[in-house]
């Protein structure tokens, strides 16, 4: 048996990996989202309302929160054809702020007092079960036609469009999948923290997801996993970093962007020879 402290670290590692992928997946089609915290919040509140107010089994509540967050993600991602680049960043930042204010003022979800009385239903099997599902999905996705379309869009979406790729569709898919991952992470978080309020899902949360993914490497499938793991575990061992965690993150972001903007891992890091152009099967 592992003790409660180790278990809590492992659970947060798992949740943070999910959250890191929620930023990574839209990024795989060149969509930068600054508001993934909103989808995490939606997942957290939806699942909490389901288990507390309707006594829905946790597995069902998890699935529902993923689906609701994913559906809202699809709606938000839909204008993606016209809104890209920095415009999308600002739009998602604004969206997250609106969602935060909604949960802060909505009486059903506890308003400014937050939502309390959630049962502790999140455990290691749930966290790593969900994570494994998402990872398997992602790895299969990358080798499918969808993954190739994502890659084409990331390289150059105009060129992709001229080759007959339905850019809007794939961008919406990517955005919805990212929102879904955040929603699942939020549901797991809510049933472990046992108390949630709107400030848990604000600007800083969204930025934390960006840091995890960018630190690990946003061009490598393993990147977010490695980034989230390292950045969740290290502060636990160094009390100094724990206290100055945000300053440490901030300085690291500045230095990382100046010296290694691609993050720790890169796409072709583990190949023996450098690929001559992209030759995916």
């Amino acid at each position: 048996m592992i003790d409660a402290y180790t278990e809590s670290i492992l659970i947060f590692v798992g949740i943070n990996i999910l959250l890191a992928y929620s930023f990574y997946i839209p990024m795989a089609t060149n969509q930068i989202s600054g508001g993934q915290g909103a989808f995490m919040g939606i997942g957290a509140y939806v699942s909490a309302a389901l288990t507390v107010n309707f006594h829905v089994p946790f597995a069902l509540a998890l699935a529902a929160s993923g689906l609701v967050a994913g559906a809202i993600g699809a709606v938000v991602g839909f204008p993606a054809l016209r809104i890209r680049g920095l415009y999308l960043v600002i739009m998602t930042l604004g969206f997250a702020e609106v969602v935060r204010v909604f949960f802060m003022t909505n009486e059903y979800f506890g308003g400014a007092y937050g939502f309390s009385g959630i049962d502790e239903l999140t455990n290691l099997p749930y966290v790593y079960g969900v994570l494994a599902l998402v990872l398997v999905l992602l790895f299969r996705l990358e080798r499918s036609h969808i993954g190739r379309a994502f890659q084409a869009i990331k390289e150059n979406d105009l060129a992709g469009e001229t080759l007959g790729i339905n850019v809007t569709r794939y961008k919406v898919i990517a955005f919805a999948l990212g929102a879904m991952a955040a929603g699942l992470g939020g549901a797991l978080y809510a049933h472990y923290a046992l108390f949630i309020d709107s400030n848990n899902f604000g600007f800083h949360r969204s930025i934390e997801m960006v840091i995890f993914a960018v630190f690990g490497g946003i061009n490598a499938l393993w990147g977010p996993l490695v980034g989230a793991t390292i950045l969740t575990v290290i502060p636990e061992f160094l009390r100094v970093i724990q206290e100055w965690r945000m300053v440490f993150y901030g300085l690291m972001m500045i230095l990382l962007m100046a010296f290694r903007p691609q993050g720790l891992l890169t796409k072709h890091m583990f190949r023996r020879e450098k690929p001559q152009g992209e030759t995916e099967p």
Partner: protein, 291 residues
């Protein structure tokens, strides 16, 4: 009469927003990036004024001058430390590095002044002026006058001086400007200085208007500033001024006549509508979504 009163309130809020948005739009126009620590420059401006007035017993004028100098230096330092060497890395890199700066500044000021709201010292004798049934307080008059003066000066500088012409030329096309012998680096540094000065002044005005400041104040106002430059058209100076006033008015009226909790939703809702139907902004000329 209540209506006119709200117009004055809206003007006061809108002026402050416009000053913040101008900084974003100037920097975006030049480098095509979002300076995510701009709200924190404003926050530090407010704290600088607090220190000058509260601890050093200066007056409002001294506080403004001191704040302008501090924030100008701060803005230029941020550019050199976090933007100059990462500019070339696409959209994400400067975004992430300036968010890094924002986080560090927020955290440092939280450690120094606590994360709680602290009172901004009274600087002006609050007197009410009656004018045709509308009541102006001296605070409102001072804020509106200072903000409008800044906007007029900025407009004149951009239109009429050498540095203004250089800024406009570099915004138009950086490479051509460089070929024509414009010292691009110095123009960029000057722009960061100007933009940050405006943010600093806005910070002082926010302090005067709301009587309290806190280390995370830059996030909220910064997001409003970003929404405003989308509404007015990214990179568009006059657009930022007008839509700043527009958003200020809209928020005050939504608080007065609808509900105070949804004022942010109105602003960001308008922003999303603009993004969908007129992504070049209310005052933009051509569709330019591929920035």
């Amino acid at each position: 009469m209540i209506f006119l009163q709200q117009v004055v309130n809206g003007l006061m809020l809108g002026c402050t927003y416009a000053l913040v948005a101008l900084g974003y739009t100037l920097i975006f126009g030049l480098l095509r990036l979002i300076h995510m620590a701009h709200g924190e420059v404003l926050m530090i401006g407010a704290y600088t004024a607090l220190v000058i007035i509260g601890y050093l017993h200066g007056n409002l004028f001294l506080a403004l001058v001191g704040t302008m100098m501090v924030t100008a230096v701060l803005g230029i330092t941020i550019y050199l430390a976090s933007i100059r060497f990462v500019e070339k890395g696409g959209h994400l890199s400067p975004l992430v590095s300036t968010i890094g700066v924002a986080i560090v500044l927020q955290e440092l000021f939280t450690k120094m002044f606590t994360g709680e709201k602290i009172a901004f010292p009274e600087t002006l004798a609050v007197k009410n002026i009656q004018l045709g049934g509308v009541t102006f307080s001296t605070v409102q008059v001072v804020i509106i006058v200072i903000a409008l003066a800044c906007m007029i000066v900025l407009y004149r500088v951009l239109k009429g001086t050498m540095i203004g012409k250089c800024i406009r030329a570099v915004s138009e096309n950086m490479e051509t400007s460089r070929l024509l012998g414009i010292p691009v680096f110095r123009v960029v540094v000057a722009t960061f200085g100007i933009a940050s000065t405006l943010a600093g002044i806005a910070g002082v005005l926010v302090g005067i208007a709301y009587h309290s400041i806190y280390p995370l104040m830059g996030i909220e106002i910064g997001l409003k500033g970003l929404a405003i430059i989308i509404i007015g058209g990214m990179g568009n100076v006059v657009g930022a001024m007008v839509s700043g006033l527009l958003v200020g008015m809209m928020e005050i009226f939504s608080v007065a006549y609808i509900s105070s909790s949804y004022k942010d939703a109105f602003t960001f809702g308008l922003m999303v509508l603009i993004l969908i139907w007129k992504p070049e902004g209310l005052f933009g000329k051509r569709a330019d979504t591929r920035v």
